[in-house]
């Protein structure tokens, strides 16, 4: 972990004090894990640190004076928050007690940008600002809402899973149990309509749907959710010209009509990745600075240009390993709340990663959202550090016995 950090950073001449601070903080984080959760999963923190270090190197390379140092500072704050979370949340089950408080905070944070202190940046109103300080409350809301969902679903799962009637051969739960799904759908639509933030809207709805499925094992919720999702997408497409643009650009990014305007950013992202090829141009040798927002949503394309497919594949493997470890924790957790919480956290992490990676590689229409641990942005970093702290906390209490070989081998490709 430290080697990766030092090596990547050296190449761009990361200021020595920052390396020292980061090293000290990560070592502190490591000892915090040893002290507060000695039985915890040993891979989560190093994987996050590697991703974070690569992201820092890329941001430093793009903006050594402004965003680089700021991101280091946010990382240090994030690690401090990570340690604090481990120290204060000694038993994750206590979180379930505050589920409604956290739920309200989550929804409140989510809707905060619609209030007068909200700020519109790059067309999306998902910021709140006080003076020059801007924050994306949606990132923190994500963690709060996952805790709420986990507690709520753990409590109600039997009830929600009861199939009281049969429709077209399916066991279908009572209609009133579709209520929560509809509420969540409305909330997602509200985010989409009022904050014009497709990425977050998609993310929240997907997390909830996946958790509902895990809790109840009812495919019918997934099916109904899928229908709701289609309706929501249709409404979005019909209502917002920028949604239509995104889809058109996705189909035809190199079309002369879009390439210099709406499609410019995505085209530049693809040019960056294509220019990188297998080995990349080498750190500092490419021109990722041409991509608008290279340091935030498009950090992955910037890495792809200078480190090539080897770099992007490496990053992808780290994300996959982290997700696999998270799922392993979720499966081994001994109580429903722990399972749902770990699953929700890691799914939110994974879905967010996939949404932006699929967007910048043109696998799916682009929806702006940050890449966890790598993109520039304080809110995103802090929430992800809290997220892995909670995962580590849950992993402390999983069944001590080694995992059955087949699952861990499949998911993590060997015992790490």
């Amino acid at each position: 972990m430290l080697v990766a950090l030092a090596r990547d950073s050296d190449k761009v001449g990361l200021a020595v004090p920052f390396i020292v601070f980061l090293t000290v903080f990560y070592i502190a984080a490591h000892f915090a894990v040893r002290k507060f959760a000695p039985q915890a999963d040993p891979l989560i923190l190093p994987l996050a640190a590697i991703l974070n270090a690569i992201g820092l190197a890329a941001i430093y390379r793009l903006s050594p004076k402004e965003f680089g140092p700021a991101q280091v500072t946010w990382t240090l704050v994030g690690i401090a928050l990570f340690i604090a979370t481990l120290a204060f949340v000694r038993d994750y089950r206590t979180l379930a007690r505050y589920k409604y408080t956290l739920g309200f905070i989550g929804v409140g944070l989510l809707l905060l940008p619609m209030s007068p202190i909200g700020k519109t940046i790059n067309g999306a109103r998902l910021w709140v600002g006080v003076g020059s300080f801007a924050f994306q409350p949606g990132e923190i809301a994500k963690v709060c809402l996952v805790i709420f969902f986990a507690a709520y679903l753990a409590e109600r799962k039997e009830l929600l899973a009861i199939a009281s009637r049969r429709i077209a051969g399916f066991h279908v739960p009572d209609l009133k149990h579709f209520g929560p799904l509809l509420v969540m759908w409305s909330l997602s639509l509200a985010v989409m309509f009022f904050e014009k933030d497709l990425g977050s809207s998609l993310l929240f709805f997907t997390i909830f749907l996946a958790m509902l499925y895990i809790a109840t094992a009812r495919i019918v919720y997934m099916a109904f959710g899928g229908v709701l999702f289609s309706i929501g997408s249709y409404i979005g497409y019909e209502t917002f010209s920028h949604v239509q643009q995104r889809v058109q650009v996705w189909f035809d990014v190199f079309d002369q009509r879009y390439i210099q305007d709406e499609g410019y950013q995505l085209a530049q992202s693809l040019f960056a990745l294509a220019t990188g090829g297998l080995f990349g141009t080498g750190l500092g040798q490419g021109r990722p600075d041409i991509i608008p927002a290279a340091h935030t949503d498009f950090i992955f394309a910037a890495i792809g240009e200078e480190l090539g497919l080897l770099g992007t594949a490496g990053v992808l493997v780290c994300f996959m390993l982290l997700v696999a470890r998270g799922l392993r924790i979720a499966m081994r957790s001994r109580d429903d709340f722990g399972k749902l919480l770990a699953a929700g956290l890691i799914i939110s992490f994974a879905v967010q990663t996939i949404i932006i990676l699929a967007g910048v590689t043109r696998l799916l229409p682009l929806t702006g959202i940050t890449l966890p641990f790598m993109s520039y942005g304080g809110s995103s970093l802090l929430s992800n550090f809290i997220l892995i702290a909670l995962l580590i906390r849950i992993s402390q209490d999983i069944s001590g016995a080694p995992a059955p070989a087949e699952t861990s081998e499949i998911l993590i490709g060997g015992r790490g």
């Binding site: 895990i214 990745l273 294509a274 297998l278 041409i290 090539g308 994300f319 996959m320 399972k339 696998l363």
Partner: protein, 500 residues
């Protein structure tokens, strides 16, 4: 719950694998195709981070240079002398690409020519900045200025060539354009200026008339016709021809030459009268006073020979040059269209020539019948001042014998001494020349031409001048009145500059 988590997990892993597959596609399989999209500015940015070499005149005047900027493109191209060299340097524009020397010498200017000089090897090891090589033209700045001055406000073109080396010493057309605004990084500024140049029109100032517009050459073509006649062995300067007012169409009552076959149109002399009034004219006199009927008859007689010589001088294919040229035309006229053979021989009908081609014709006569290879670039110089590349004079063949060339020279001297070209006389210098007054479309004034070289006995400079539609002389214009004085000014300027 484990089962559901595992299923969701498998879904997520599949999504990650899809991203990985897509990355392979973008970064490996389709990488080249994607990266080559013209909207990918990376290659351009790399190019603009190189200090592109300067373009210099023969005498060291800087006509294109790169200046450092603070923007995202490191160097900007400027052309300190504006439109004077626009048609020579061309432009180097982000929006409109590269033209002329900026295009043909692109590799050298970017330092990419494959020739590594000691200086460049040293730079590579010591990490010196990326710097291209300078290109030195064959153009002499003072002659170029003289050409611009001499043509004045007339629309037209001037080409001056050193006949012994083929080096082009002046190449000016009016109207011209200033390449600097086109090289602007402000796309809007470039676009506004570009549109003001009427880019779609064949008459746009963006097009160099001198190299790329073929005009009817009129009587200047008679130099070629006369040379082919002498070279054929059938004629000498003393050969005599009938001298009618016009060549009438052949008919039952008039079927003895001279008559025009297969037509009901007569070919009238420019003056609408017989050239000498004596009923006879010899070839020498016919060229001196530019007698149309004489050359029309030669055209009818030896069309194929004239065409062959025209091609030896460069007609019917774009001239090889350091910038793009348009082909001049000496038409291939079949037997059943014979009148057009007569017209081609006097530079009308389907005959068309660029000013560069006509200058090359004069230079060929001046160079004892050997066609010099035209050149616009003298040498390529690296940042340390070392010469990386130098082009030596070449010839592209012998178009006529030295004797023919000498006989034509004598005739052309007579043109200036006592014929249609007396306005080109320079005291103390024997000038050889030929006028041309080329009919264009009905209702438009004729183009005034003059081709010349001097001194006739030791040629230093060969010149072609065209003034479109007679310039200020309008319908009264002739090559002798309008174009000859301009050619004279240029030859005088060259004499002053080089001291011959």
């Amino acid at each position: 719950m484990e089962r559901q988590i595992r299923r969701v997990g498998i879904g997520l892993i599949v999504a990650f694998i899809a991203v990985f597959a897509q990355l392979n596609y973008i970064q490996i399989f389709a990488a080249e195709r994607i990266a080559e999209n013209p909207a990918n500015s990376r290659a351009l940015l790399r190019e603009y981070s190189i200090k592109r070499g300067d373009i210099l005149t023969l005498d060291g005047e800087r006509v294109a240079e790169s200046t450092a900027t603070t923007g995202r493109y490191k160097y900007r191209r400027t052309y300190p002398l504006g439109e004077l060299y626009g048609h020579i340097t061309g432009f180097y524009s982000i929006v409109y690409g590269k033209t002329r020397i900026e295009a043909s010498m692109d590799d050298e200017l970017l330092g990419d020519s494959g020739v590594l000089s000691m200086q460049e090897i040293q730079d590579k090891f010591l990490g010196g900045g990326d710097q291209g090589d300078d290109v030195r033209l064959t153009i002499h700045s003072r002659l170029q200025e003289a050409a611009q001055r001499a043509l004045g406000n007339n629309k037209g073109a001037v080409v001056a060539i050193d006949p012994q080396t083929g080096e082009v010493r002046a190449l000016w057309d009016n109207p011209a354009f200033d390449p600097t605004p086109l090289a602007s990084f402000d796309a809007k500024e470039a676009k506004v200026y570009w549109n003001s140049l009427d880019p779609q029109s064949p008459l746009s100032p963006l097009i160099s008339k001198a190299t790329s517009r073929a005009y009817p050459p009129g009587s200047t073509m008679k130099v070629l016709t006369a040379a082919a006649a002498l070279e054929s062995g059938q004629y000498t300067p003393k050969s005599t021809f009938p001298d009618p007012d016009a060549i009438e169409p052949c008919s039952k009552t008039n079927n003895e030459p001279p008559c025009m076959p297969l037509t009901n149109q007569s070919l009238t002399n420019f003056t609408h009268r017989a050239c000498t009034g004596t009923g006879q004219i010899d070839l020498f006199t016919a060229l001196r006073i530019s007698c149309d009927t004489t050359f029309a008859l030669i055209g009818l007689d030896i069309h194929d020979e004239i065409k062959k010589m025209a091609e030896a001088v460069g007609f019917n294919e774009p001239l090889q040059f350091d910038v793009g040229t348009e082909a001049s035309t000496y038409p291939d006229v079949p037997d059943d269209n014979a009148p057009f053979r007569a017209y081609a021989a006097i530079g009308q009908g389907d005959a068309a020539a660029t000013p560069l081609q006509m200058a090359l014709l004069a230079a060929t006569v001046a160079n004892d019948g050997e066609v010099p290879r035209l050149r616009l670039v003298r040498e390529v110089i690296d940042s340390g001042g070392g010469i990386v590349q130098r082009t030596d004079p070449e010839t592209t063949g012998q178009a006529m014998s030295a004797q023919t060339a000498q006989e034509i020279t004598d005739m052309m001297v007579a043109v200036v001494e006592s014929g249609t070209g007396i306005a080109a006389q320079i005291p103390g210098v024997k000038v050889a020349g030929k006028t041309g007054t080329a009919q264009t479309v009905e209702g438009q004034n004729p183009h005034a031409w003059f081709i010349a070289f001097a001194p006739a006995d030791d040629p230093q400079i060969a010149v072609a001048v065209i003034v479109e539609n007679g310039g200020s002389f309008g319908s009264e214009a002739t090559g002798g009145a309008v174009a000859a004085p301009i050619a004279k000014l240029i030859m005088e300027a060259d004499r002053q500059i080089r001291g011959w």
